[in-house]
Amino acid sequence: MDRPKLSFFRMSKLSGDFIFKGVVGLFALGIIVLAFLLFREPFIESQLSRNAFGFGFLTGSTWDPVNEVFGALPFIFGTLVSSFLALLIAVPFSLGIAIFLSELAPEKLRTPLSFIIELLAAVPSVIIGLWGIFILAPFLRDYLAPPLSTYLGFLPLFQGPMYGLSMLTGSVILAIMVIPITSSVSREVIMTVPTQQREAALALGATGWETTRIAVLPYARSGIFGAVILGFGRAVGETMAVTMVIGNSSHISASLFSPSDTMASVIANQFLETAGSKLYISSLIEVGFLLLVVSVIINIGARILVWKFLKVERGAA
């Protein structure tokens, strides 16, 4: 039988490996280039605004498109307050969910329940916003705000009339959107806690909850902290849903019942209404650049925390 000769591709074989590695390597380099451009383009286009306001942009509390005076403080304030409040609501829930789904729930329920919780993350932000406008905001206005102002009305936080679209509604929406990521990462972290840790506690006669409290949570602390920061990053960068329910006002107000704006929402809301004012657009782009820097820093911090934790745990296992 005629056997085909096999080794006549000699040169092309060597270069085949070289070319292939080069091509996929170039695409990998593309990701670095993309990250670079993601910073460079907004930085260049915000030149005008940086020249006009300098560092005052960060501390200026006036955002006046008519007179072209732009200070981003109201939005930095709005982002910080809404994200912080969102975490305040979301963290206890996320922890409860993570603990229940990894430690206390019946084996059979764990996978389907976590799937359902994570499904919430698949719902587009604009649809959550739509629901927020027509369902959540009226609900909070009618059922949550009255008792808050009756019993806690002495605090500046809960004074004044409650508009449906407000800082409070924005924060609750953010909390809802933060829960899937914070709870699923916390759960992942908790599940890597070595079984011996649990068994040691169980062998002492500890109940399921005691085991969680004594053996699991202290062990997983730094990883859970990373999960919380990751949720913070999500809240800071979230755009559409917040834009739709936060009420859009460039004034700083102590009351959570007042409308507000975040860095993301002011861009989404005003970007197409600049009427060609170069300084206005440049200022919005600078807000976007700041948002990018802040969320990248948060993300790097969170990933380092979670990674370190998972690496140590998996390495040890």
């Binding site: 085909p4 591709f9 074989k13």
Partner: protein, 252 residues
């Protein structure tokens, strides 16, 4: 008797850990050479140096010479791809390609080297499966997935796959360690048939297997070659104390 492979001053490392120390050994053509020794003694590393598979592991290094038909396979003008065509390998765990049918598995090496003619491929598939003593069991299921076979059949499929590229030498890296006794004896019979045409090197931790199939045996310990000779001599009258200790089962 002609020497097929000559190993001169072979050292091998994983990162900084040295796995082989100054190995010198000759492997005879059309013979079965067995490499025995306790786990971690470097026998798998050694066999993987013979077809340049050691360098696939990240940060693995090597020094010394491996001459095949007098030509050093580690010279800079040698393409490892050519070497691996001439020197086939069968692994400890059967590893058929899960996305390919039985016949595609057998001719995978040829197909990916540019052989397209379906008739030639079919012929080679049949011929190789026959050589691997698997043809009669699978001839009606050639389009089934390779992973649908039993463990022993999968291992013979891997042998057929190695044979299809027409190598001169076949390396067996503990080919039976995951198999039942019946499958094992089939593969041993097969090796005895194959040595008519091929030079065979087998790594095994099973001393009975080495005694049954091999003509020559090399005993490795802690990355060093302790003793090498005809299988009869090694098993009946070992020269070294540690070889004897290992063979009578004092450690390992």
């Amino acid at each position: 008797m002609p020497e097929k492979i000559t190993i001169e001053n072979l050292n091998a490392w994983f990162e900084t850990k040295q796995a082989l120390h100054d190995i010198n050994l000759s492997i005879q053509e059309n013979m079965i050479t067995a490499i025995i020794g306790p786990s971690g003694c470097g026998k798998s590393t050694f066999i993987r140096c013979l077809n340049r598979m050691h360098e696939v592991v990240p940060k693995a290094k090597i020094s010394g010479k491996v001459l095949v038909d007098g030509k050093n396979i580690y010279e800079s003008d040698v393409d490892p791809v050519d070497i691996r065509r001439r020197i086939g390998m069968v692994f400890q765990k059967a590893n058929p390609f899960p996305t390919m049918s039985i016949s595609d598995n057998v001719v995978a090496g040829l197909k990916l080297s540019g052989v397209k003619d379906k008739k030639i491929l079919d012929n080679i598939a049949e011929e190789s499966l026959k050589k691997a003593a698997l043809w009669d069991e699978v001839k009606n299921d050639l389009n089934k997935s390779g992973v649908s076979l039993s463990g022993g059949q999968q291992q013979r499929l891997c042998i057929a796959r190695a044979l299809a590229v027409e190598p001169e030498i076949i390396l067996f890296d503990e080919p039976c360690s995951a198999l039942d006794p019946i499958s094992t004896s089939k593969i041993e019979d097969l090796m005895l048939e194959l040595k008519e045409k091929y030079t065979i090197v087998i790594v095994t931790h099973n001393m009975q297997q080495a005694a049954r199939v091999s003509d020559y045996t090399a005993f490795f310990l802690y990355g060093k070659l302790i003793e090498f000779g005809e299988t009869n001599q090694i098993f009946k009258k070992p020269m070294e104390k540690s070889t004897e200790d290992y063979i009578v089962g004092r450690f390992g």
